[in-house]
Every structure is written in C-alpha cells, then in structure tokens.
C-alpha cells in the first residue's frame, strides 16, 4: 500500500513539475492572502489588496509614461448586487533602469497595495461573498521583459446589516391636512 502511494506521488509530482512548465508559470507578482472585509450593505467600503513583485523585477504602474507599455490593471467580477466602484492604484515610482538610464519609467516594485471600493446594495442578504478577478501585469528585470500575465485575485467581503436600516419614509401625521 505504502509503495503504491509513494509511486503514485512520484508519478504525479514528475508529471506536474517539468522544469519548462515551472519556468513558464513562474509568477513574478503574488498576492498576499486577503482577509475578510466587513461592509455594511448600502454603504461603500474599501478593500485593500496587497501585492508583491518578485525581487529584481518591476511591473509598470497603472499609469505608465510611455504609450506602448502595458499598465498594471485589476479586473474584477462581482456577484450580483455588489457593486465594484473605483479602483485606487498607488502612484508609480519613477525609476530609470540600466537598459535606458536616461529614461524614467513609472513602475511598481517590492510591495504595493491596490484599493477597491465595494458597495453592496440594500437588497443583498447579509453573508460572506467571494469576489474574483485578475491582476494584469507585465514584468521586466534589468535586461529582459516577460510576456503579459494575469494573476488570479480573490477576496471576501462580509456584508452586514449595518446600524441603520437605510432611508425611511418621513413619518407623516395622519391628521395633517392643509
């Protein structure tokens, strides 16, 4: 039994871990695990997503200075009745690189955070909701660039009832006549 399991594990790992596949799938940007953010329904809340660019690499910011460069962009698909509002990108860091020492590129390197404004509609049932999407990026190091990639992004929001019950109709006196 043990032997069979070991052989199976070996077969599986060799099938999964061919070096060229690993090189091709190397994620140059990773996402830190995002906790659950509580947001009152009917109100906007901001979720902060933390990303990390692998050491020695950089990605273009959301507003690269050169028109041909691929910007870093978050694309999200929200469940029904949860509205994804503004995406708040950090400003890029202006840096020059050995391949073009006189040019400044607007880039992210190391850690960076992207804020997402999420607004659950009044009609949403209080519960946890997963929001999925991708971070589109294109990475380079000091001498080469890598094809554009998409990093899967997932985070969770916990929709709460909130303190108030939303906008109510003004109370009217049944005797108020004019």
């Amino acid at each position: 039994m043990k032997n069979v399991l070991c052989a199976s594990a070996l077969l599986l790992s060799s099938a999964l871990a061919l070096p060229e596949d690993l090189a091709r799938s190397k994620a140059l940007v990773s996402m830190e695990p995002a906790g659950t953010t509580a947001i009152d329904r009917g109100k906007p809340g901001t979720v902060e997503l933390q990303f990390r660019v692998a050491r020695g690499f950089h990605v273009n910011s959301n507003q690269p200075k050169q028109e041909y460069l691929k910007k870093t962009e978050l694309k999200l698909d929200a469940p029904t009745d949860i509205v994804i509002g503004r995406t708040i990108y950090p400003p890029g860091e202006d840096r020059s690189f050995p391949f073009a020492p006189t040019d400044k590129l607007s880039v992210y390197s190391g850690d960076f955070a992207i804020g997402v404004v999420v607004r659950p509609l009044h009609s949403v049932l209080p519960a946890r909701y997963a929001i999925h999407g991708v971070l589109k990026y294109q990475a380079c190091d000091n001498a080469a660039c890598y094809p554009p990639k998409q990093l899967p992004v997932t985070f969770e929001v916990r929709v709460t009832r909130g303190q108030g019950r939303g906008k109510k109709n003004p109370r009217q006196s049944p005797h108020a006549h004019s």
Binding site: S8, L12, K70, F99, A144, C145
Partner: protein, 181 residues
C-alpha cells in the same frame, strides 16, 4: 486476489491527472529548448509583415540572419533596435539580414507605426506563438538568434545584449560560410 479499494482509487486518480496533463501537453505547442537548436538548422517559418507581405526564413538562405524577437511593450528591445538599424547598414552589403519578429498583441498597424517611429530598416514580421515555440518558447524579450549563411543556429542571446556582443555574433555568423567554403 483481493484489491484494496483505497489503492484502486489512488491509482485511478493519478492516471486521471496524468491523462489530463498529457492531453494538455499535446494541445500545448511542442516547445524545442533553445539550447538544443545550437548547431541545428534554424526552424523555417512563414510569417507576414504588418502590411500583409509573406516572408519565409528560407527566403534568406545564403545570408547570415539576425532573428530578433521583440515587442512594443518591451523597453530593453527598444534599446537594441537602433543598433540593429546601424548594423544592417554596416553588414548588409556583406550578407547580413536582420529580421524582427513582433511577439505582440498589438495590431499590425500599431506594430508598423512603432517600427516606423524606431526608424527600422529591416523586415518586421507579426509573430505567432508556434514560431516562438519552434525557437524554444520565447519567454523573455528581447531574444535574438544568430543564423549562419547555411541556415544553422550559431547562437542565441536572451535579454538585452551589448552592442559589441551583438556585433561579434554577427561577424561570427558572416564568417561561418568562409570557414565552410
């Protein structure tokens, strides 16, 4: 013979996963590692220019070819392009042909505009993934292959190279015919 159902389940799972991976790999393009190309005939390909003209690598047989994979979004590629322009002028009369393959998702029009802006004086071709796979899978840009007059891969360089390194490789590729004559 009594068989443990757990073993059967594990074996079935492993076989299923391997089948799925196998199918995926068959569908995936057959990638020849670039290192294995050295000294081998350069894989022939047919690609079109952004203007729609068809070109084959074999059209340039008898010339030393500098095959440069690049993209509009690749800043280091932009550093090399003016060098290639100069080197095409300098070594063109001796039999050098620079070819640029744009591994880009930009439109042919955008590629053409970009190349014009860079003052490119050599053919630019719109790349295809299968051509990249023939050359080892182009995971880094720029990637440059030096092909002898006989059509064999002399060397390849991934990433930005120095102008002197490029020039030395061009001279080697041009000399190759002299050596074999």
């Amino acid at each position: 013979m009594k068989r443990d159902p757990v073993i059967l389940i594990v074996v079935a799972m492993v076989i299923s996963v391997m089948l799925v991976l196998g199918v995926r790999r068959v569908h995936h393009l057959a990638v020849v590692p670039a290192g294995k190309l050295q000294g081998q005939p350069a894989p022939d390909f047919t690609l079109t220019t952004p203007e729609g003209k068809t070109l084959k690598l074999s059209d340039f047989h008898g010339k030393a070819v500098l095959l440069n994979f690049w993209a509009t979004w690749c800043e280091p590629c932009k550093v090399e392009m003016p060098w290639f322009v100069d080197l095409q002028k300098k070594y063109g009369p001796q039999g050098l042909q620079v070819l640029g393959i744009a591994m880009d998702d930009a439109s042919p029009n955008a590629i053409s505009t970009f190349a014009q802006k860079m003052g490119v004086n050599y053919p630019i071709l719109v790349g295809k993934e299968e051509v990249g796979a023939q050359y080892g899978g182009i995971d880094y840009l720029p990637s440059t292959f030096y092909i002898t007059r006989e059509g064999k891969v002399l060397d390849h360089v991934f990433g930005l190279a120095s102008r002197s390194e490029i020039e030395a490789n061009i001279e080697k590729a041009l000399r190759q015919q002299v050596a074999t004559k």
